[in-house]
Amino acid sequence: MTPVLSLLRNLIFGDIRADSVVPPSGFTNQLTLFISGAMAFLAVFGLALSLASGRLATKWNNELARTATIRIIAPPDQLAGKTEATLKVLQTTSGVAEARALTGVEQQALLAPWLGHDLRLDLLPLPQLVEIISEKVGFDATGLRLRLLAEVPGAILDNHDRLRLPLLDAVFRMQLLGWGVLVLIFAVVAAMVTLGTNVSLAANAQVVNVLRLLGATDSYIKQAFVRRLTIKTFVGSTLGILLGLLTIWAMPSVDKSHGFLSGIELQGEGWIISLLLPFVFGVVAFVATVNAANQVLRKIS
């Protein structure tokens, strides 16, 4: 660890003059720049996909988890009383932010797809629905069920689990896919930088030879190459990410009302993570370069 740390210190504060021994604009540098740029560009999309899925999951989870319904089945004359009682129970249930009985119109709207709009609900012995909006933390569904069983027989809690779980599962898969793409991209970057370092050192065999001949130590040579490549990776990925962000920003915004897949766009944390990506790429490049350089320099005598 210590040699890596000292290398890192040299990387940042080291002798800038020593850098000049590595060709500044060789084609391997160019290549490193380009590869890390392209990968970063793809990474932004992977990230956007992950985050969009994550957002979607949270949204659905919130919408479904934070709302629940209580169905009160009772003879018409007892219905009002039981509704009253249910609301009272809910007032003393911790985690419930709001609870209110649905009006007839609202109930009709809910049933319309099945029963049509022109059905007069007030003629039917329908159950009364009570909508609950929970606080962030949520309420204890089992506890509430038991209390209702005891205090308001005929009131049944439905917390939408049946609807929510498969959707959440699907979104979870998408999210996994997005993160998988990200991991893949980092692996590709690490592999490419490793290969790039090998290529760079091989292409600059003459530079290494001259330096060796004149008495340069391994760490001197390594430092110069590592710095160049790390910086190139950093710059390349920054450019790639900027381009990626620009592309995403330029994509036609999606009509939010559809809600299902709210497009591939970045918000808040997405922008921040994106701007952190170059550093992650830099670190990946740094570690890969140091490893590759160690190996190559040990081989060249």
Binding site: P24, V210, L213, L214, G215, A216, D218
Partner: protein
């Protein structure tokens, strides 16, 4: 300074050297000669640790080269000025930066006064070319730049491989003078060359010994060449 003790070397095929024992004494001036392909370059590489002997030992400054760490070899090379036959530079740096590169590497740039550098550049006839890139040099100019680079640290030993192969006779004598000057300062000099007239010219200026490669051995040649 450099001691070869029962050294043998082979690139994988036949042996180039077998059982060579030579001692290069401090402050002496040597020529190494022999026909093309005899092993002059190989001998020099053995001297500075560019190749390790397949048998026997090479001692430089008293230390066995084969048992040195990589960093110790680097430190050793800082005290040896080397002119390779196929001269290599850092192609992206100007000629003058290439010439002071040994100082840059050992972080001793401040040791060199600018007038000294100018003198040296002038002596090897590169003053005009100092700001150019190495690939813009002519063949002879490359060799002169390489020699300048080898002597700039005033190293304890100078090993030069055909340093005058591409320069005219006048320039050869100037380069030779540079090396005899160093020798007079007590440095050890070894020049590999096939140019017998260079050796003859040197003998007039300095007490030079001639090593001749023949039959896989290295022998001190007599007075007659």
């Amino acid at each position: 300074m450099i001691e070869l003790d029962a050294v043998a070397y082979s690139y994988g095929g036949g042996e180039i050297f077998s059982d060579v024992s030579v001692n290069l004494e401090q402050g002496s001036f040597y020529f190494l000669t022999g026909p093309s392909g005899a092993g002059k370059t190989t001998f020099l590489k053995l001297c500075y640790g560019g190749l390790l002997p397949t048998a026997g030992h090479v001692r430089v400054f008293g230390a066995k080269v084969c048992s040195l760490e990589r960093d110790q070899v680097a430190m050793m090379r800082r005290k040896i000025g080397i002119v390779q036959q196929d001269v290599q530079f850092l192609d992206h740096l100007p000629v003058s930066d290439n010439i002071v590169l040994p100082l840059t590497i050992s972080d001793r740039n401040s040791d060199l006064a600018a007038p000294d550098l100018d003198d040296l550049m002038n002596w090897v006839g590169l003053t005009d070319r100092a700001r150019g890139l190495p690939e813009e040099l002519s063949g002879g100019e490359r060799q002169r730049a390489a020699l300048a680079r080898a002597v700039i640290m005033s190293p304890d030993i100078v090993l030069a491989d055909e340093p005058t192969g591409n320069v005219d006779w006048e320039m050869s004598k100037r380069l030779l003078y540079l090396l005899t000057e160093l020798n007079q300062m007590g440095k050890t000099v070894l020049i590999a060359t096939h140019d017998l007239s260079l050796i003859r010219a040197a003998k007039a200026q300095v007490q030079a010994r001639v090593l001749r490669i023949s039959k896989r051995g290295v022998h001190l040649a007599g007075a007659n060449l």
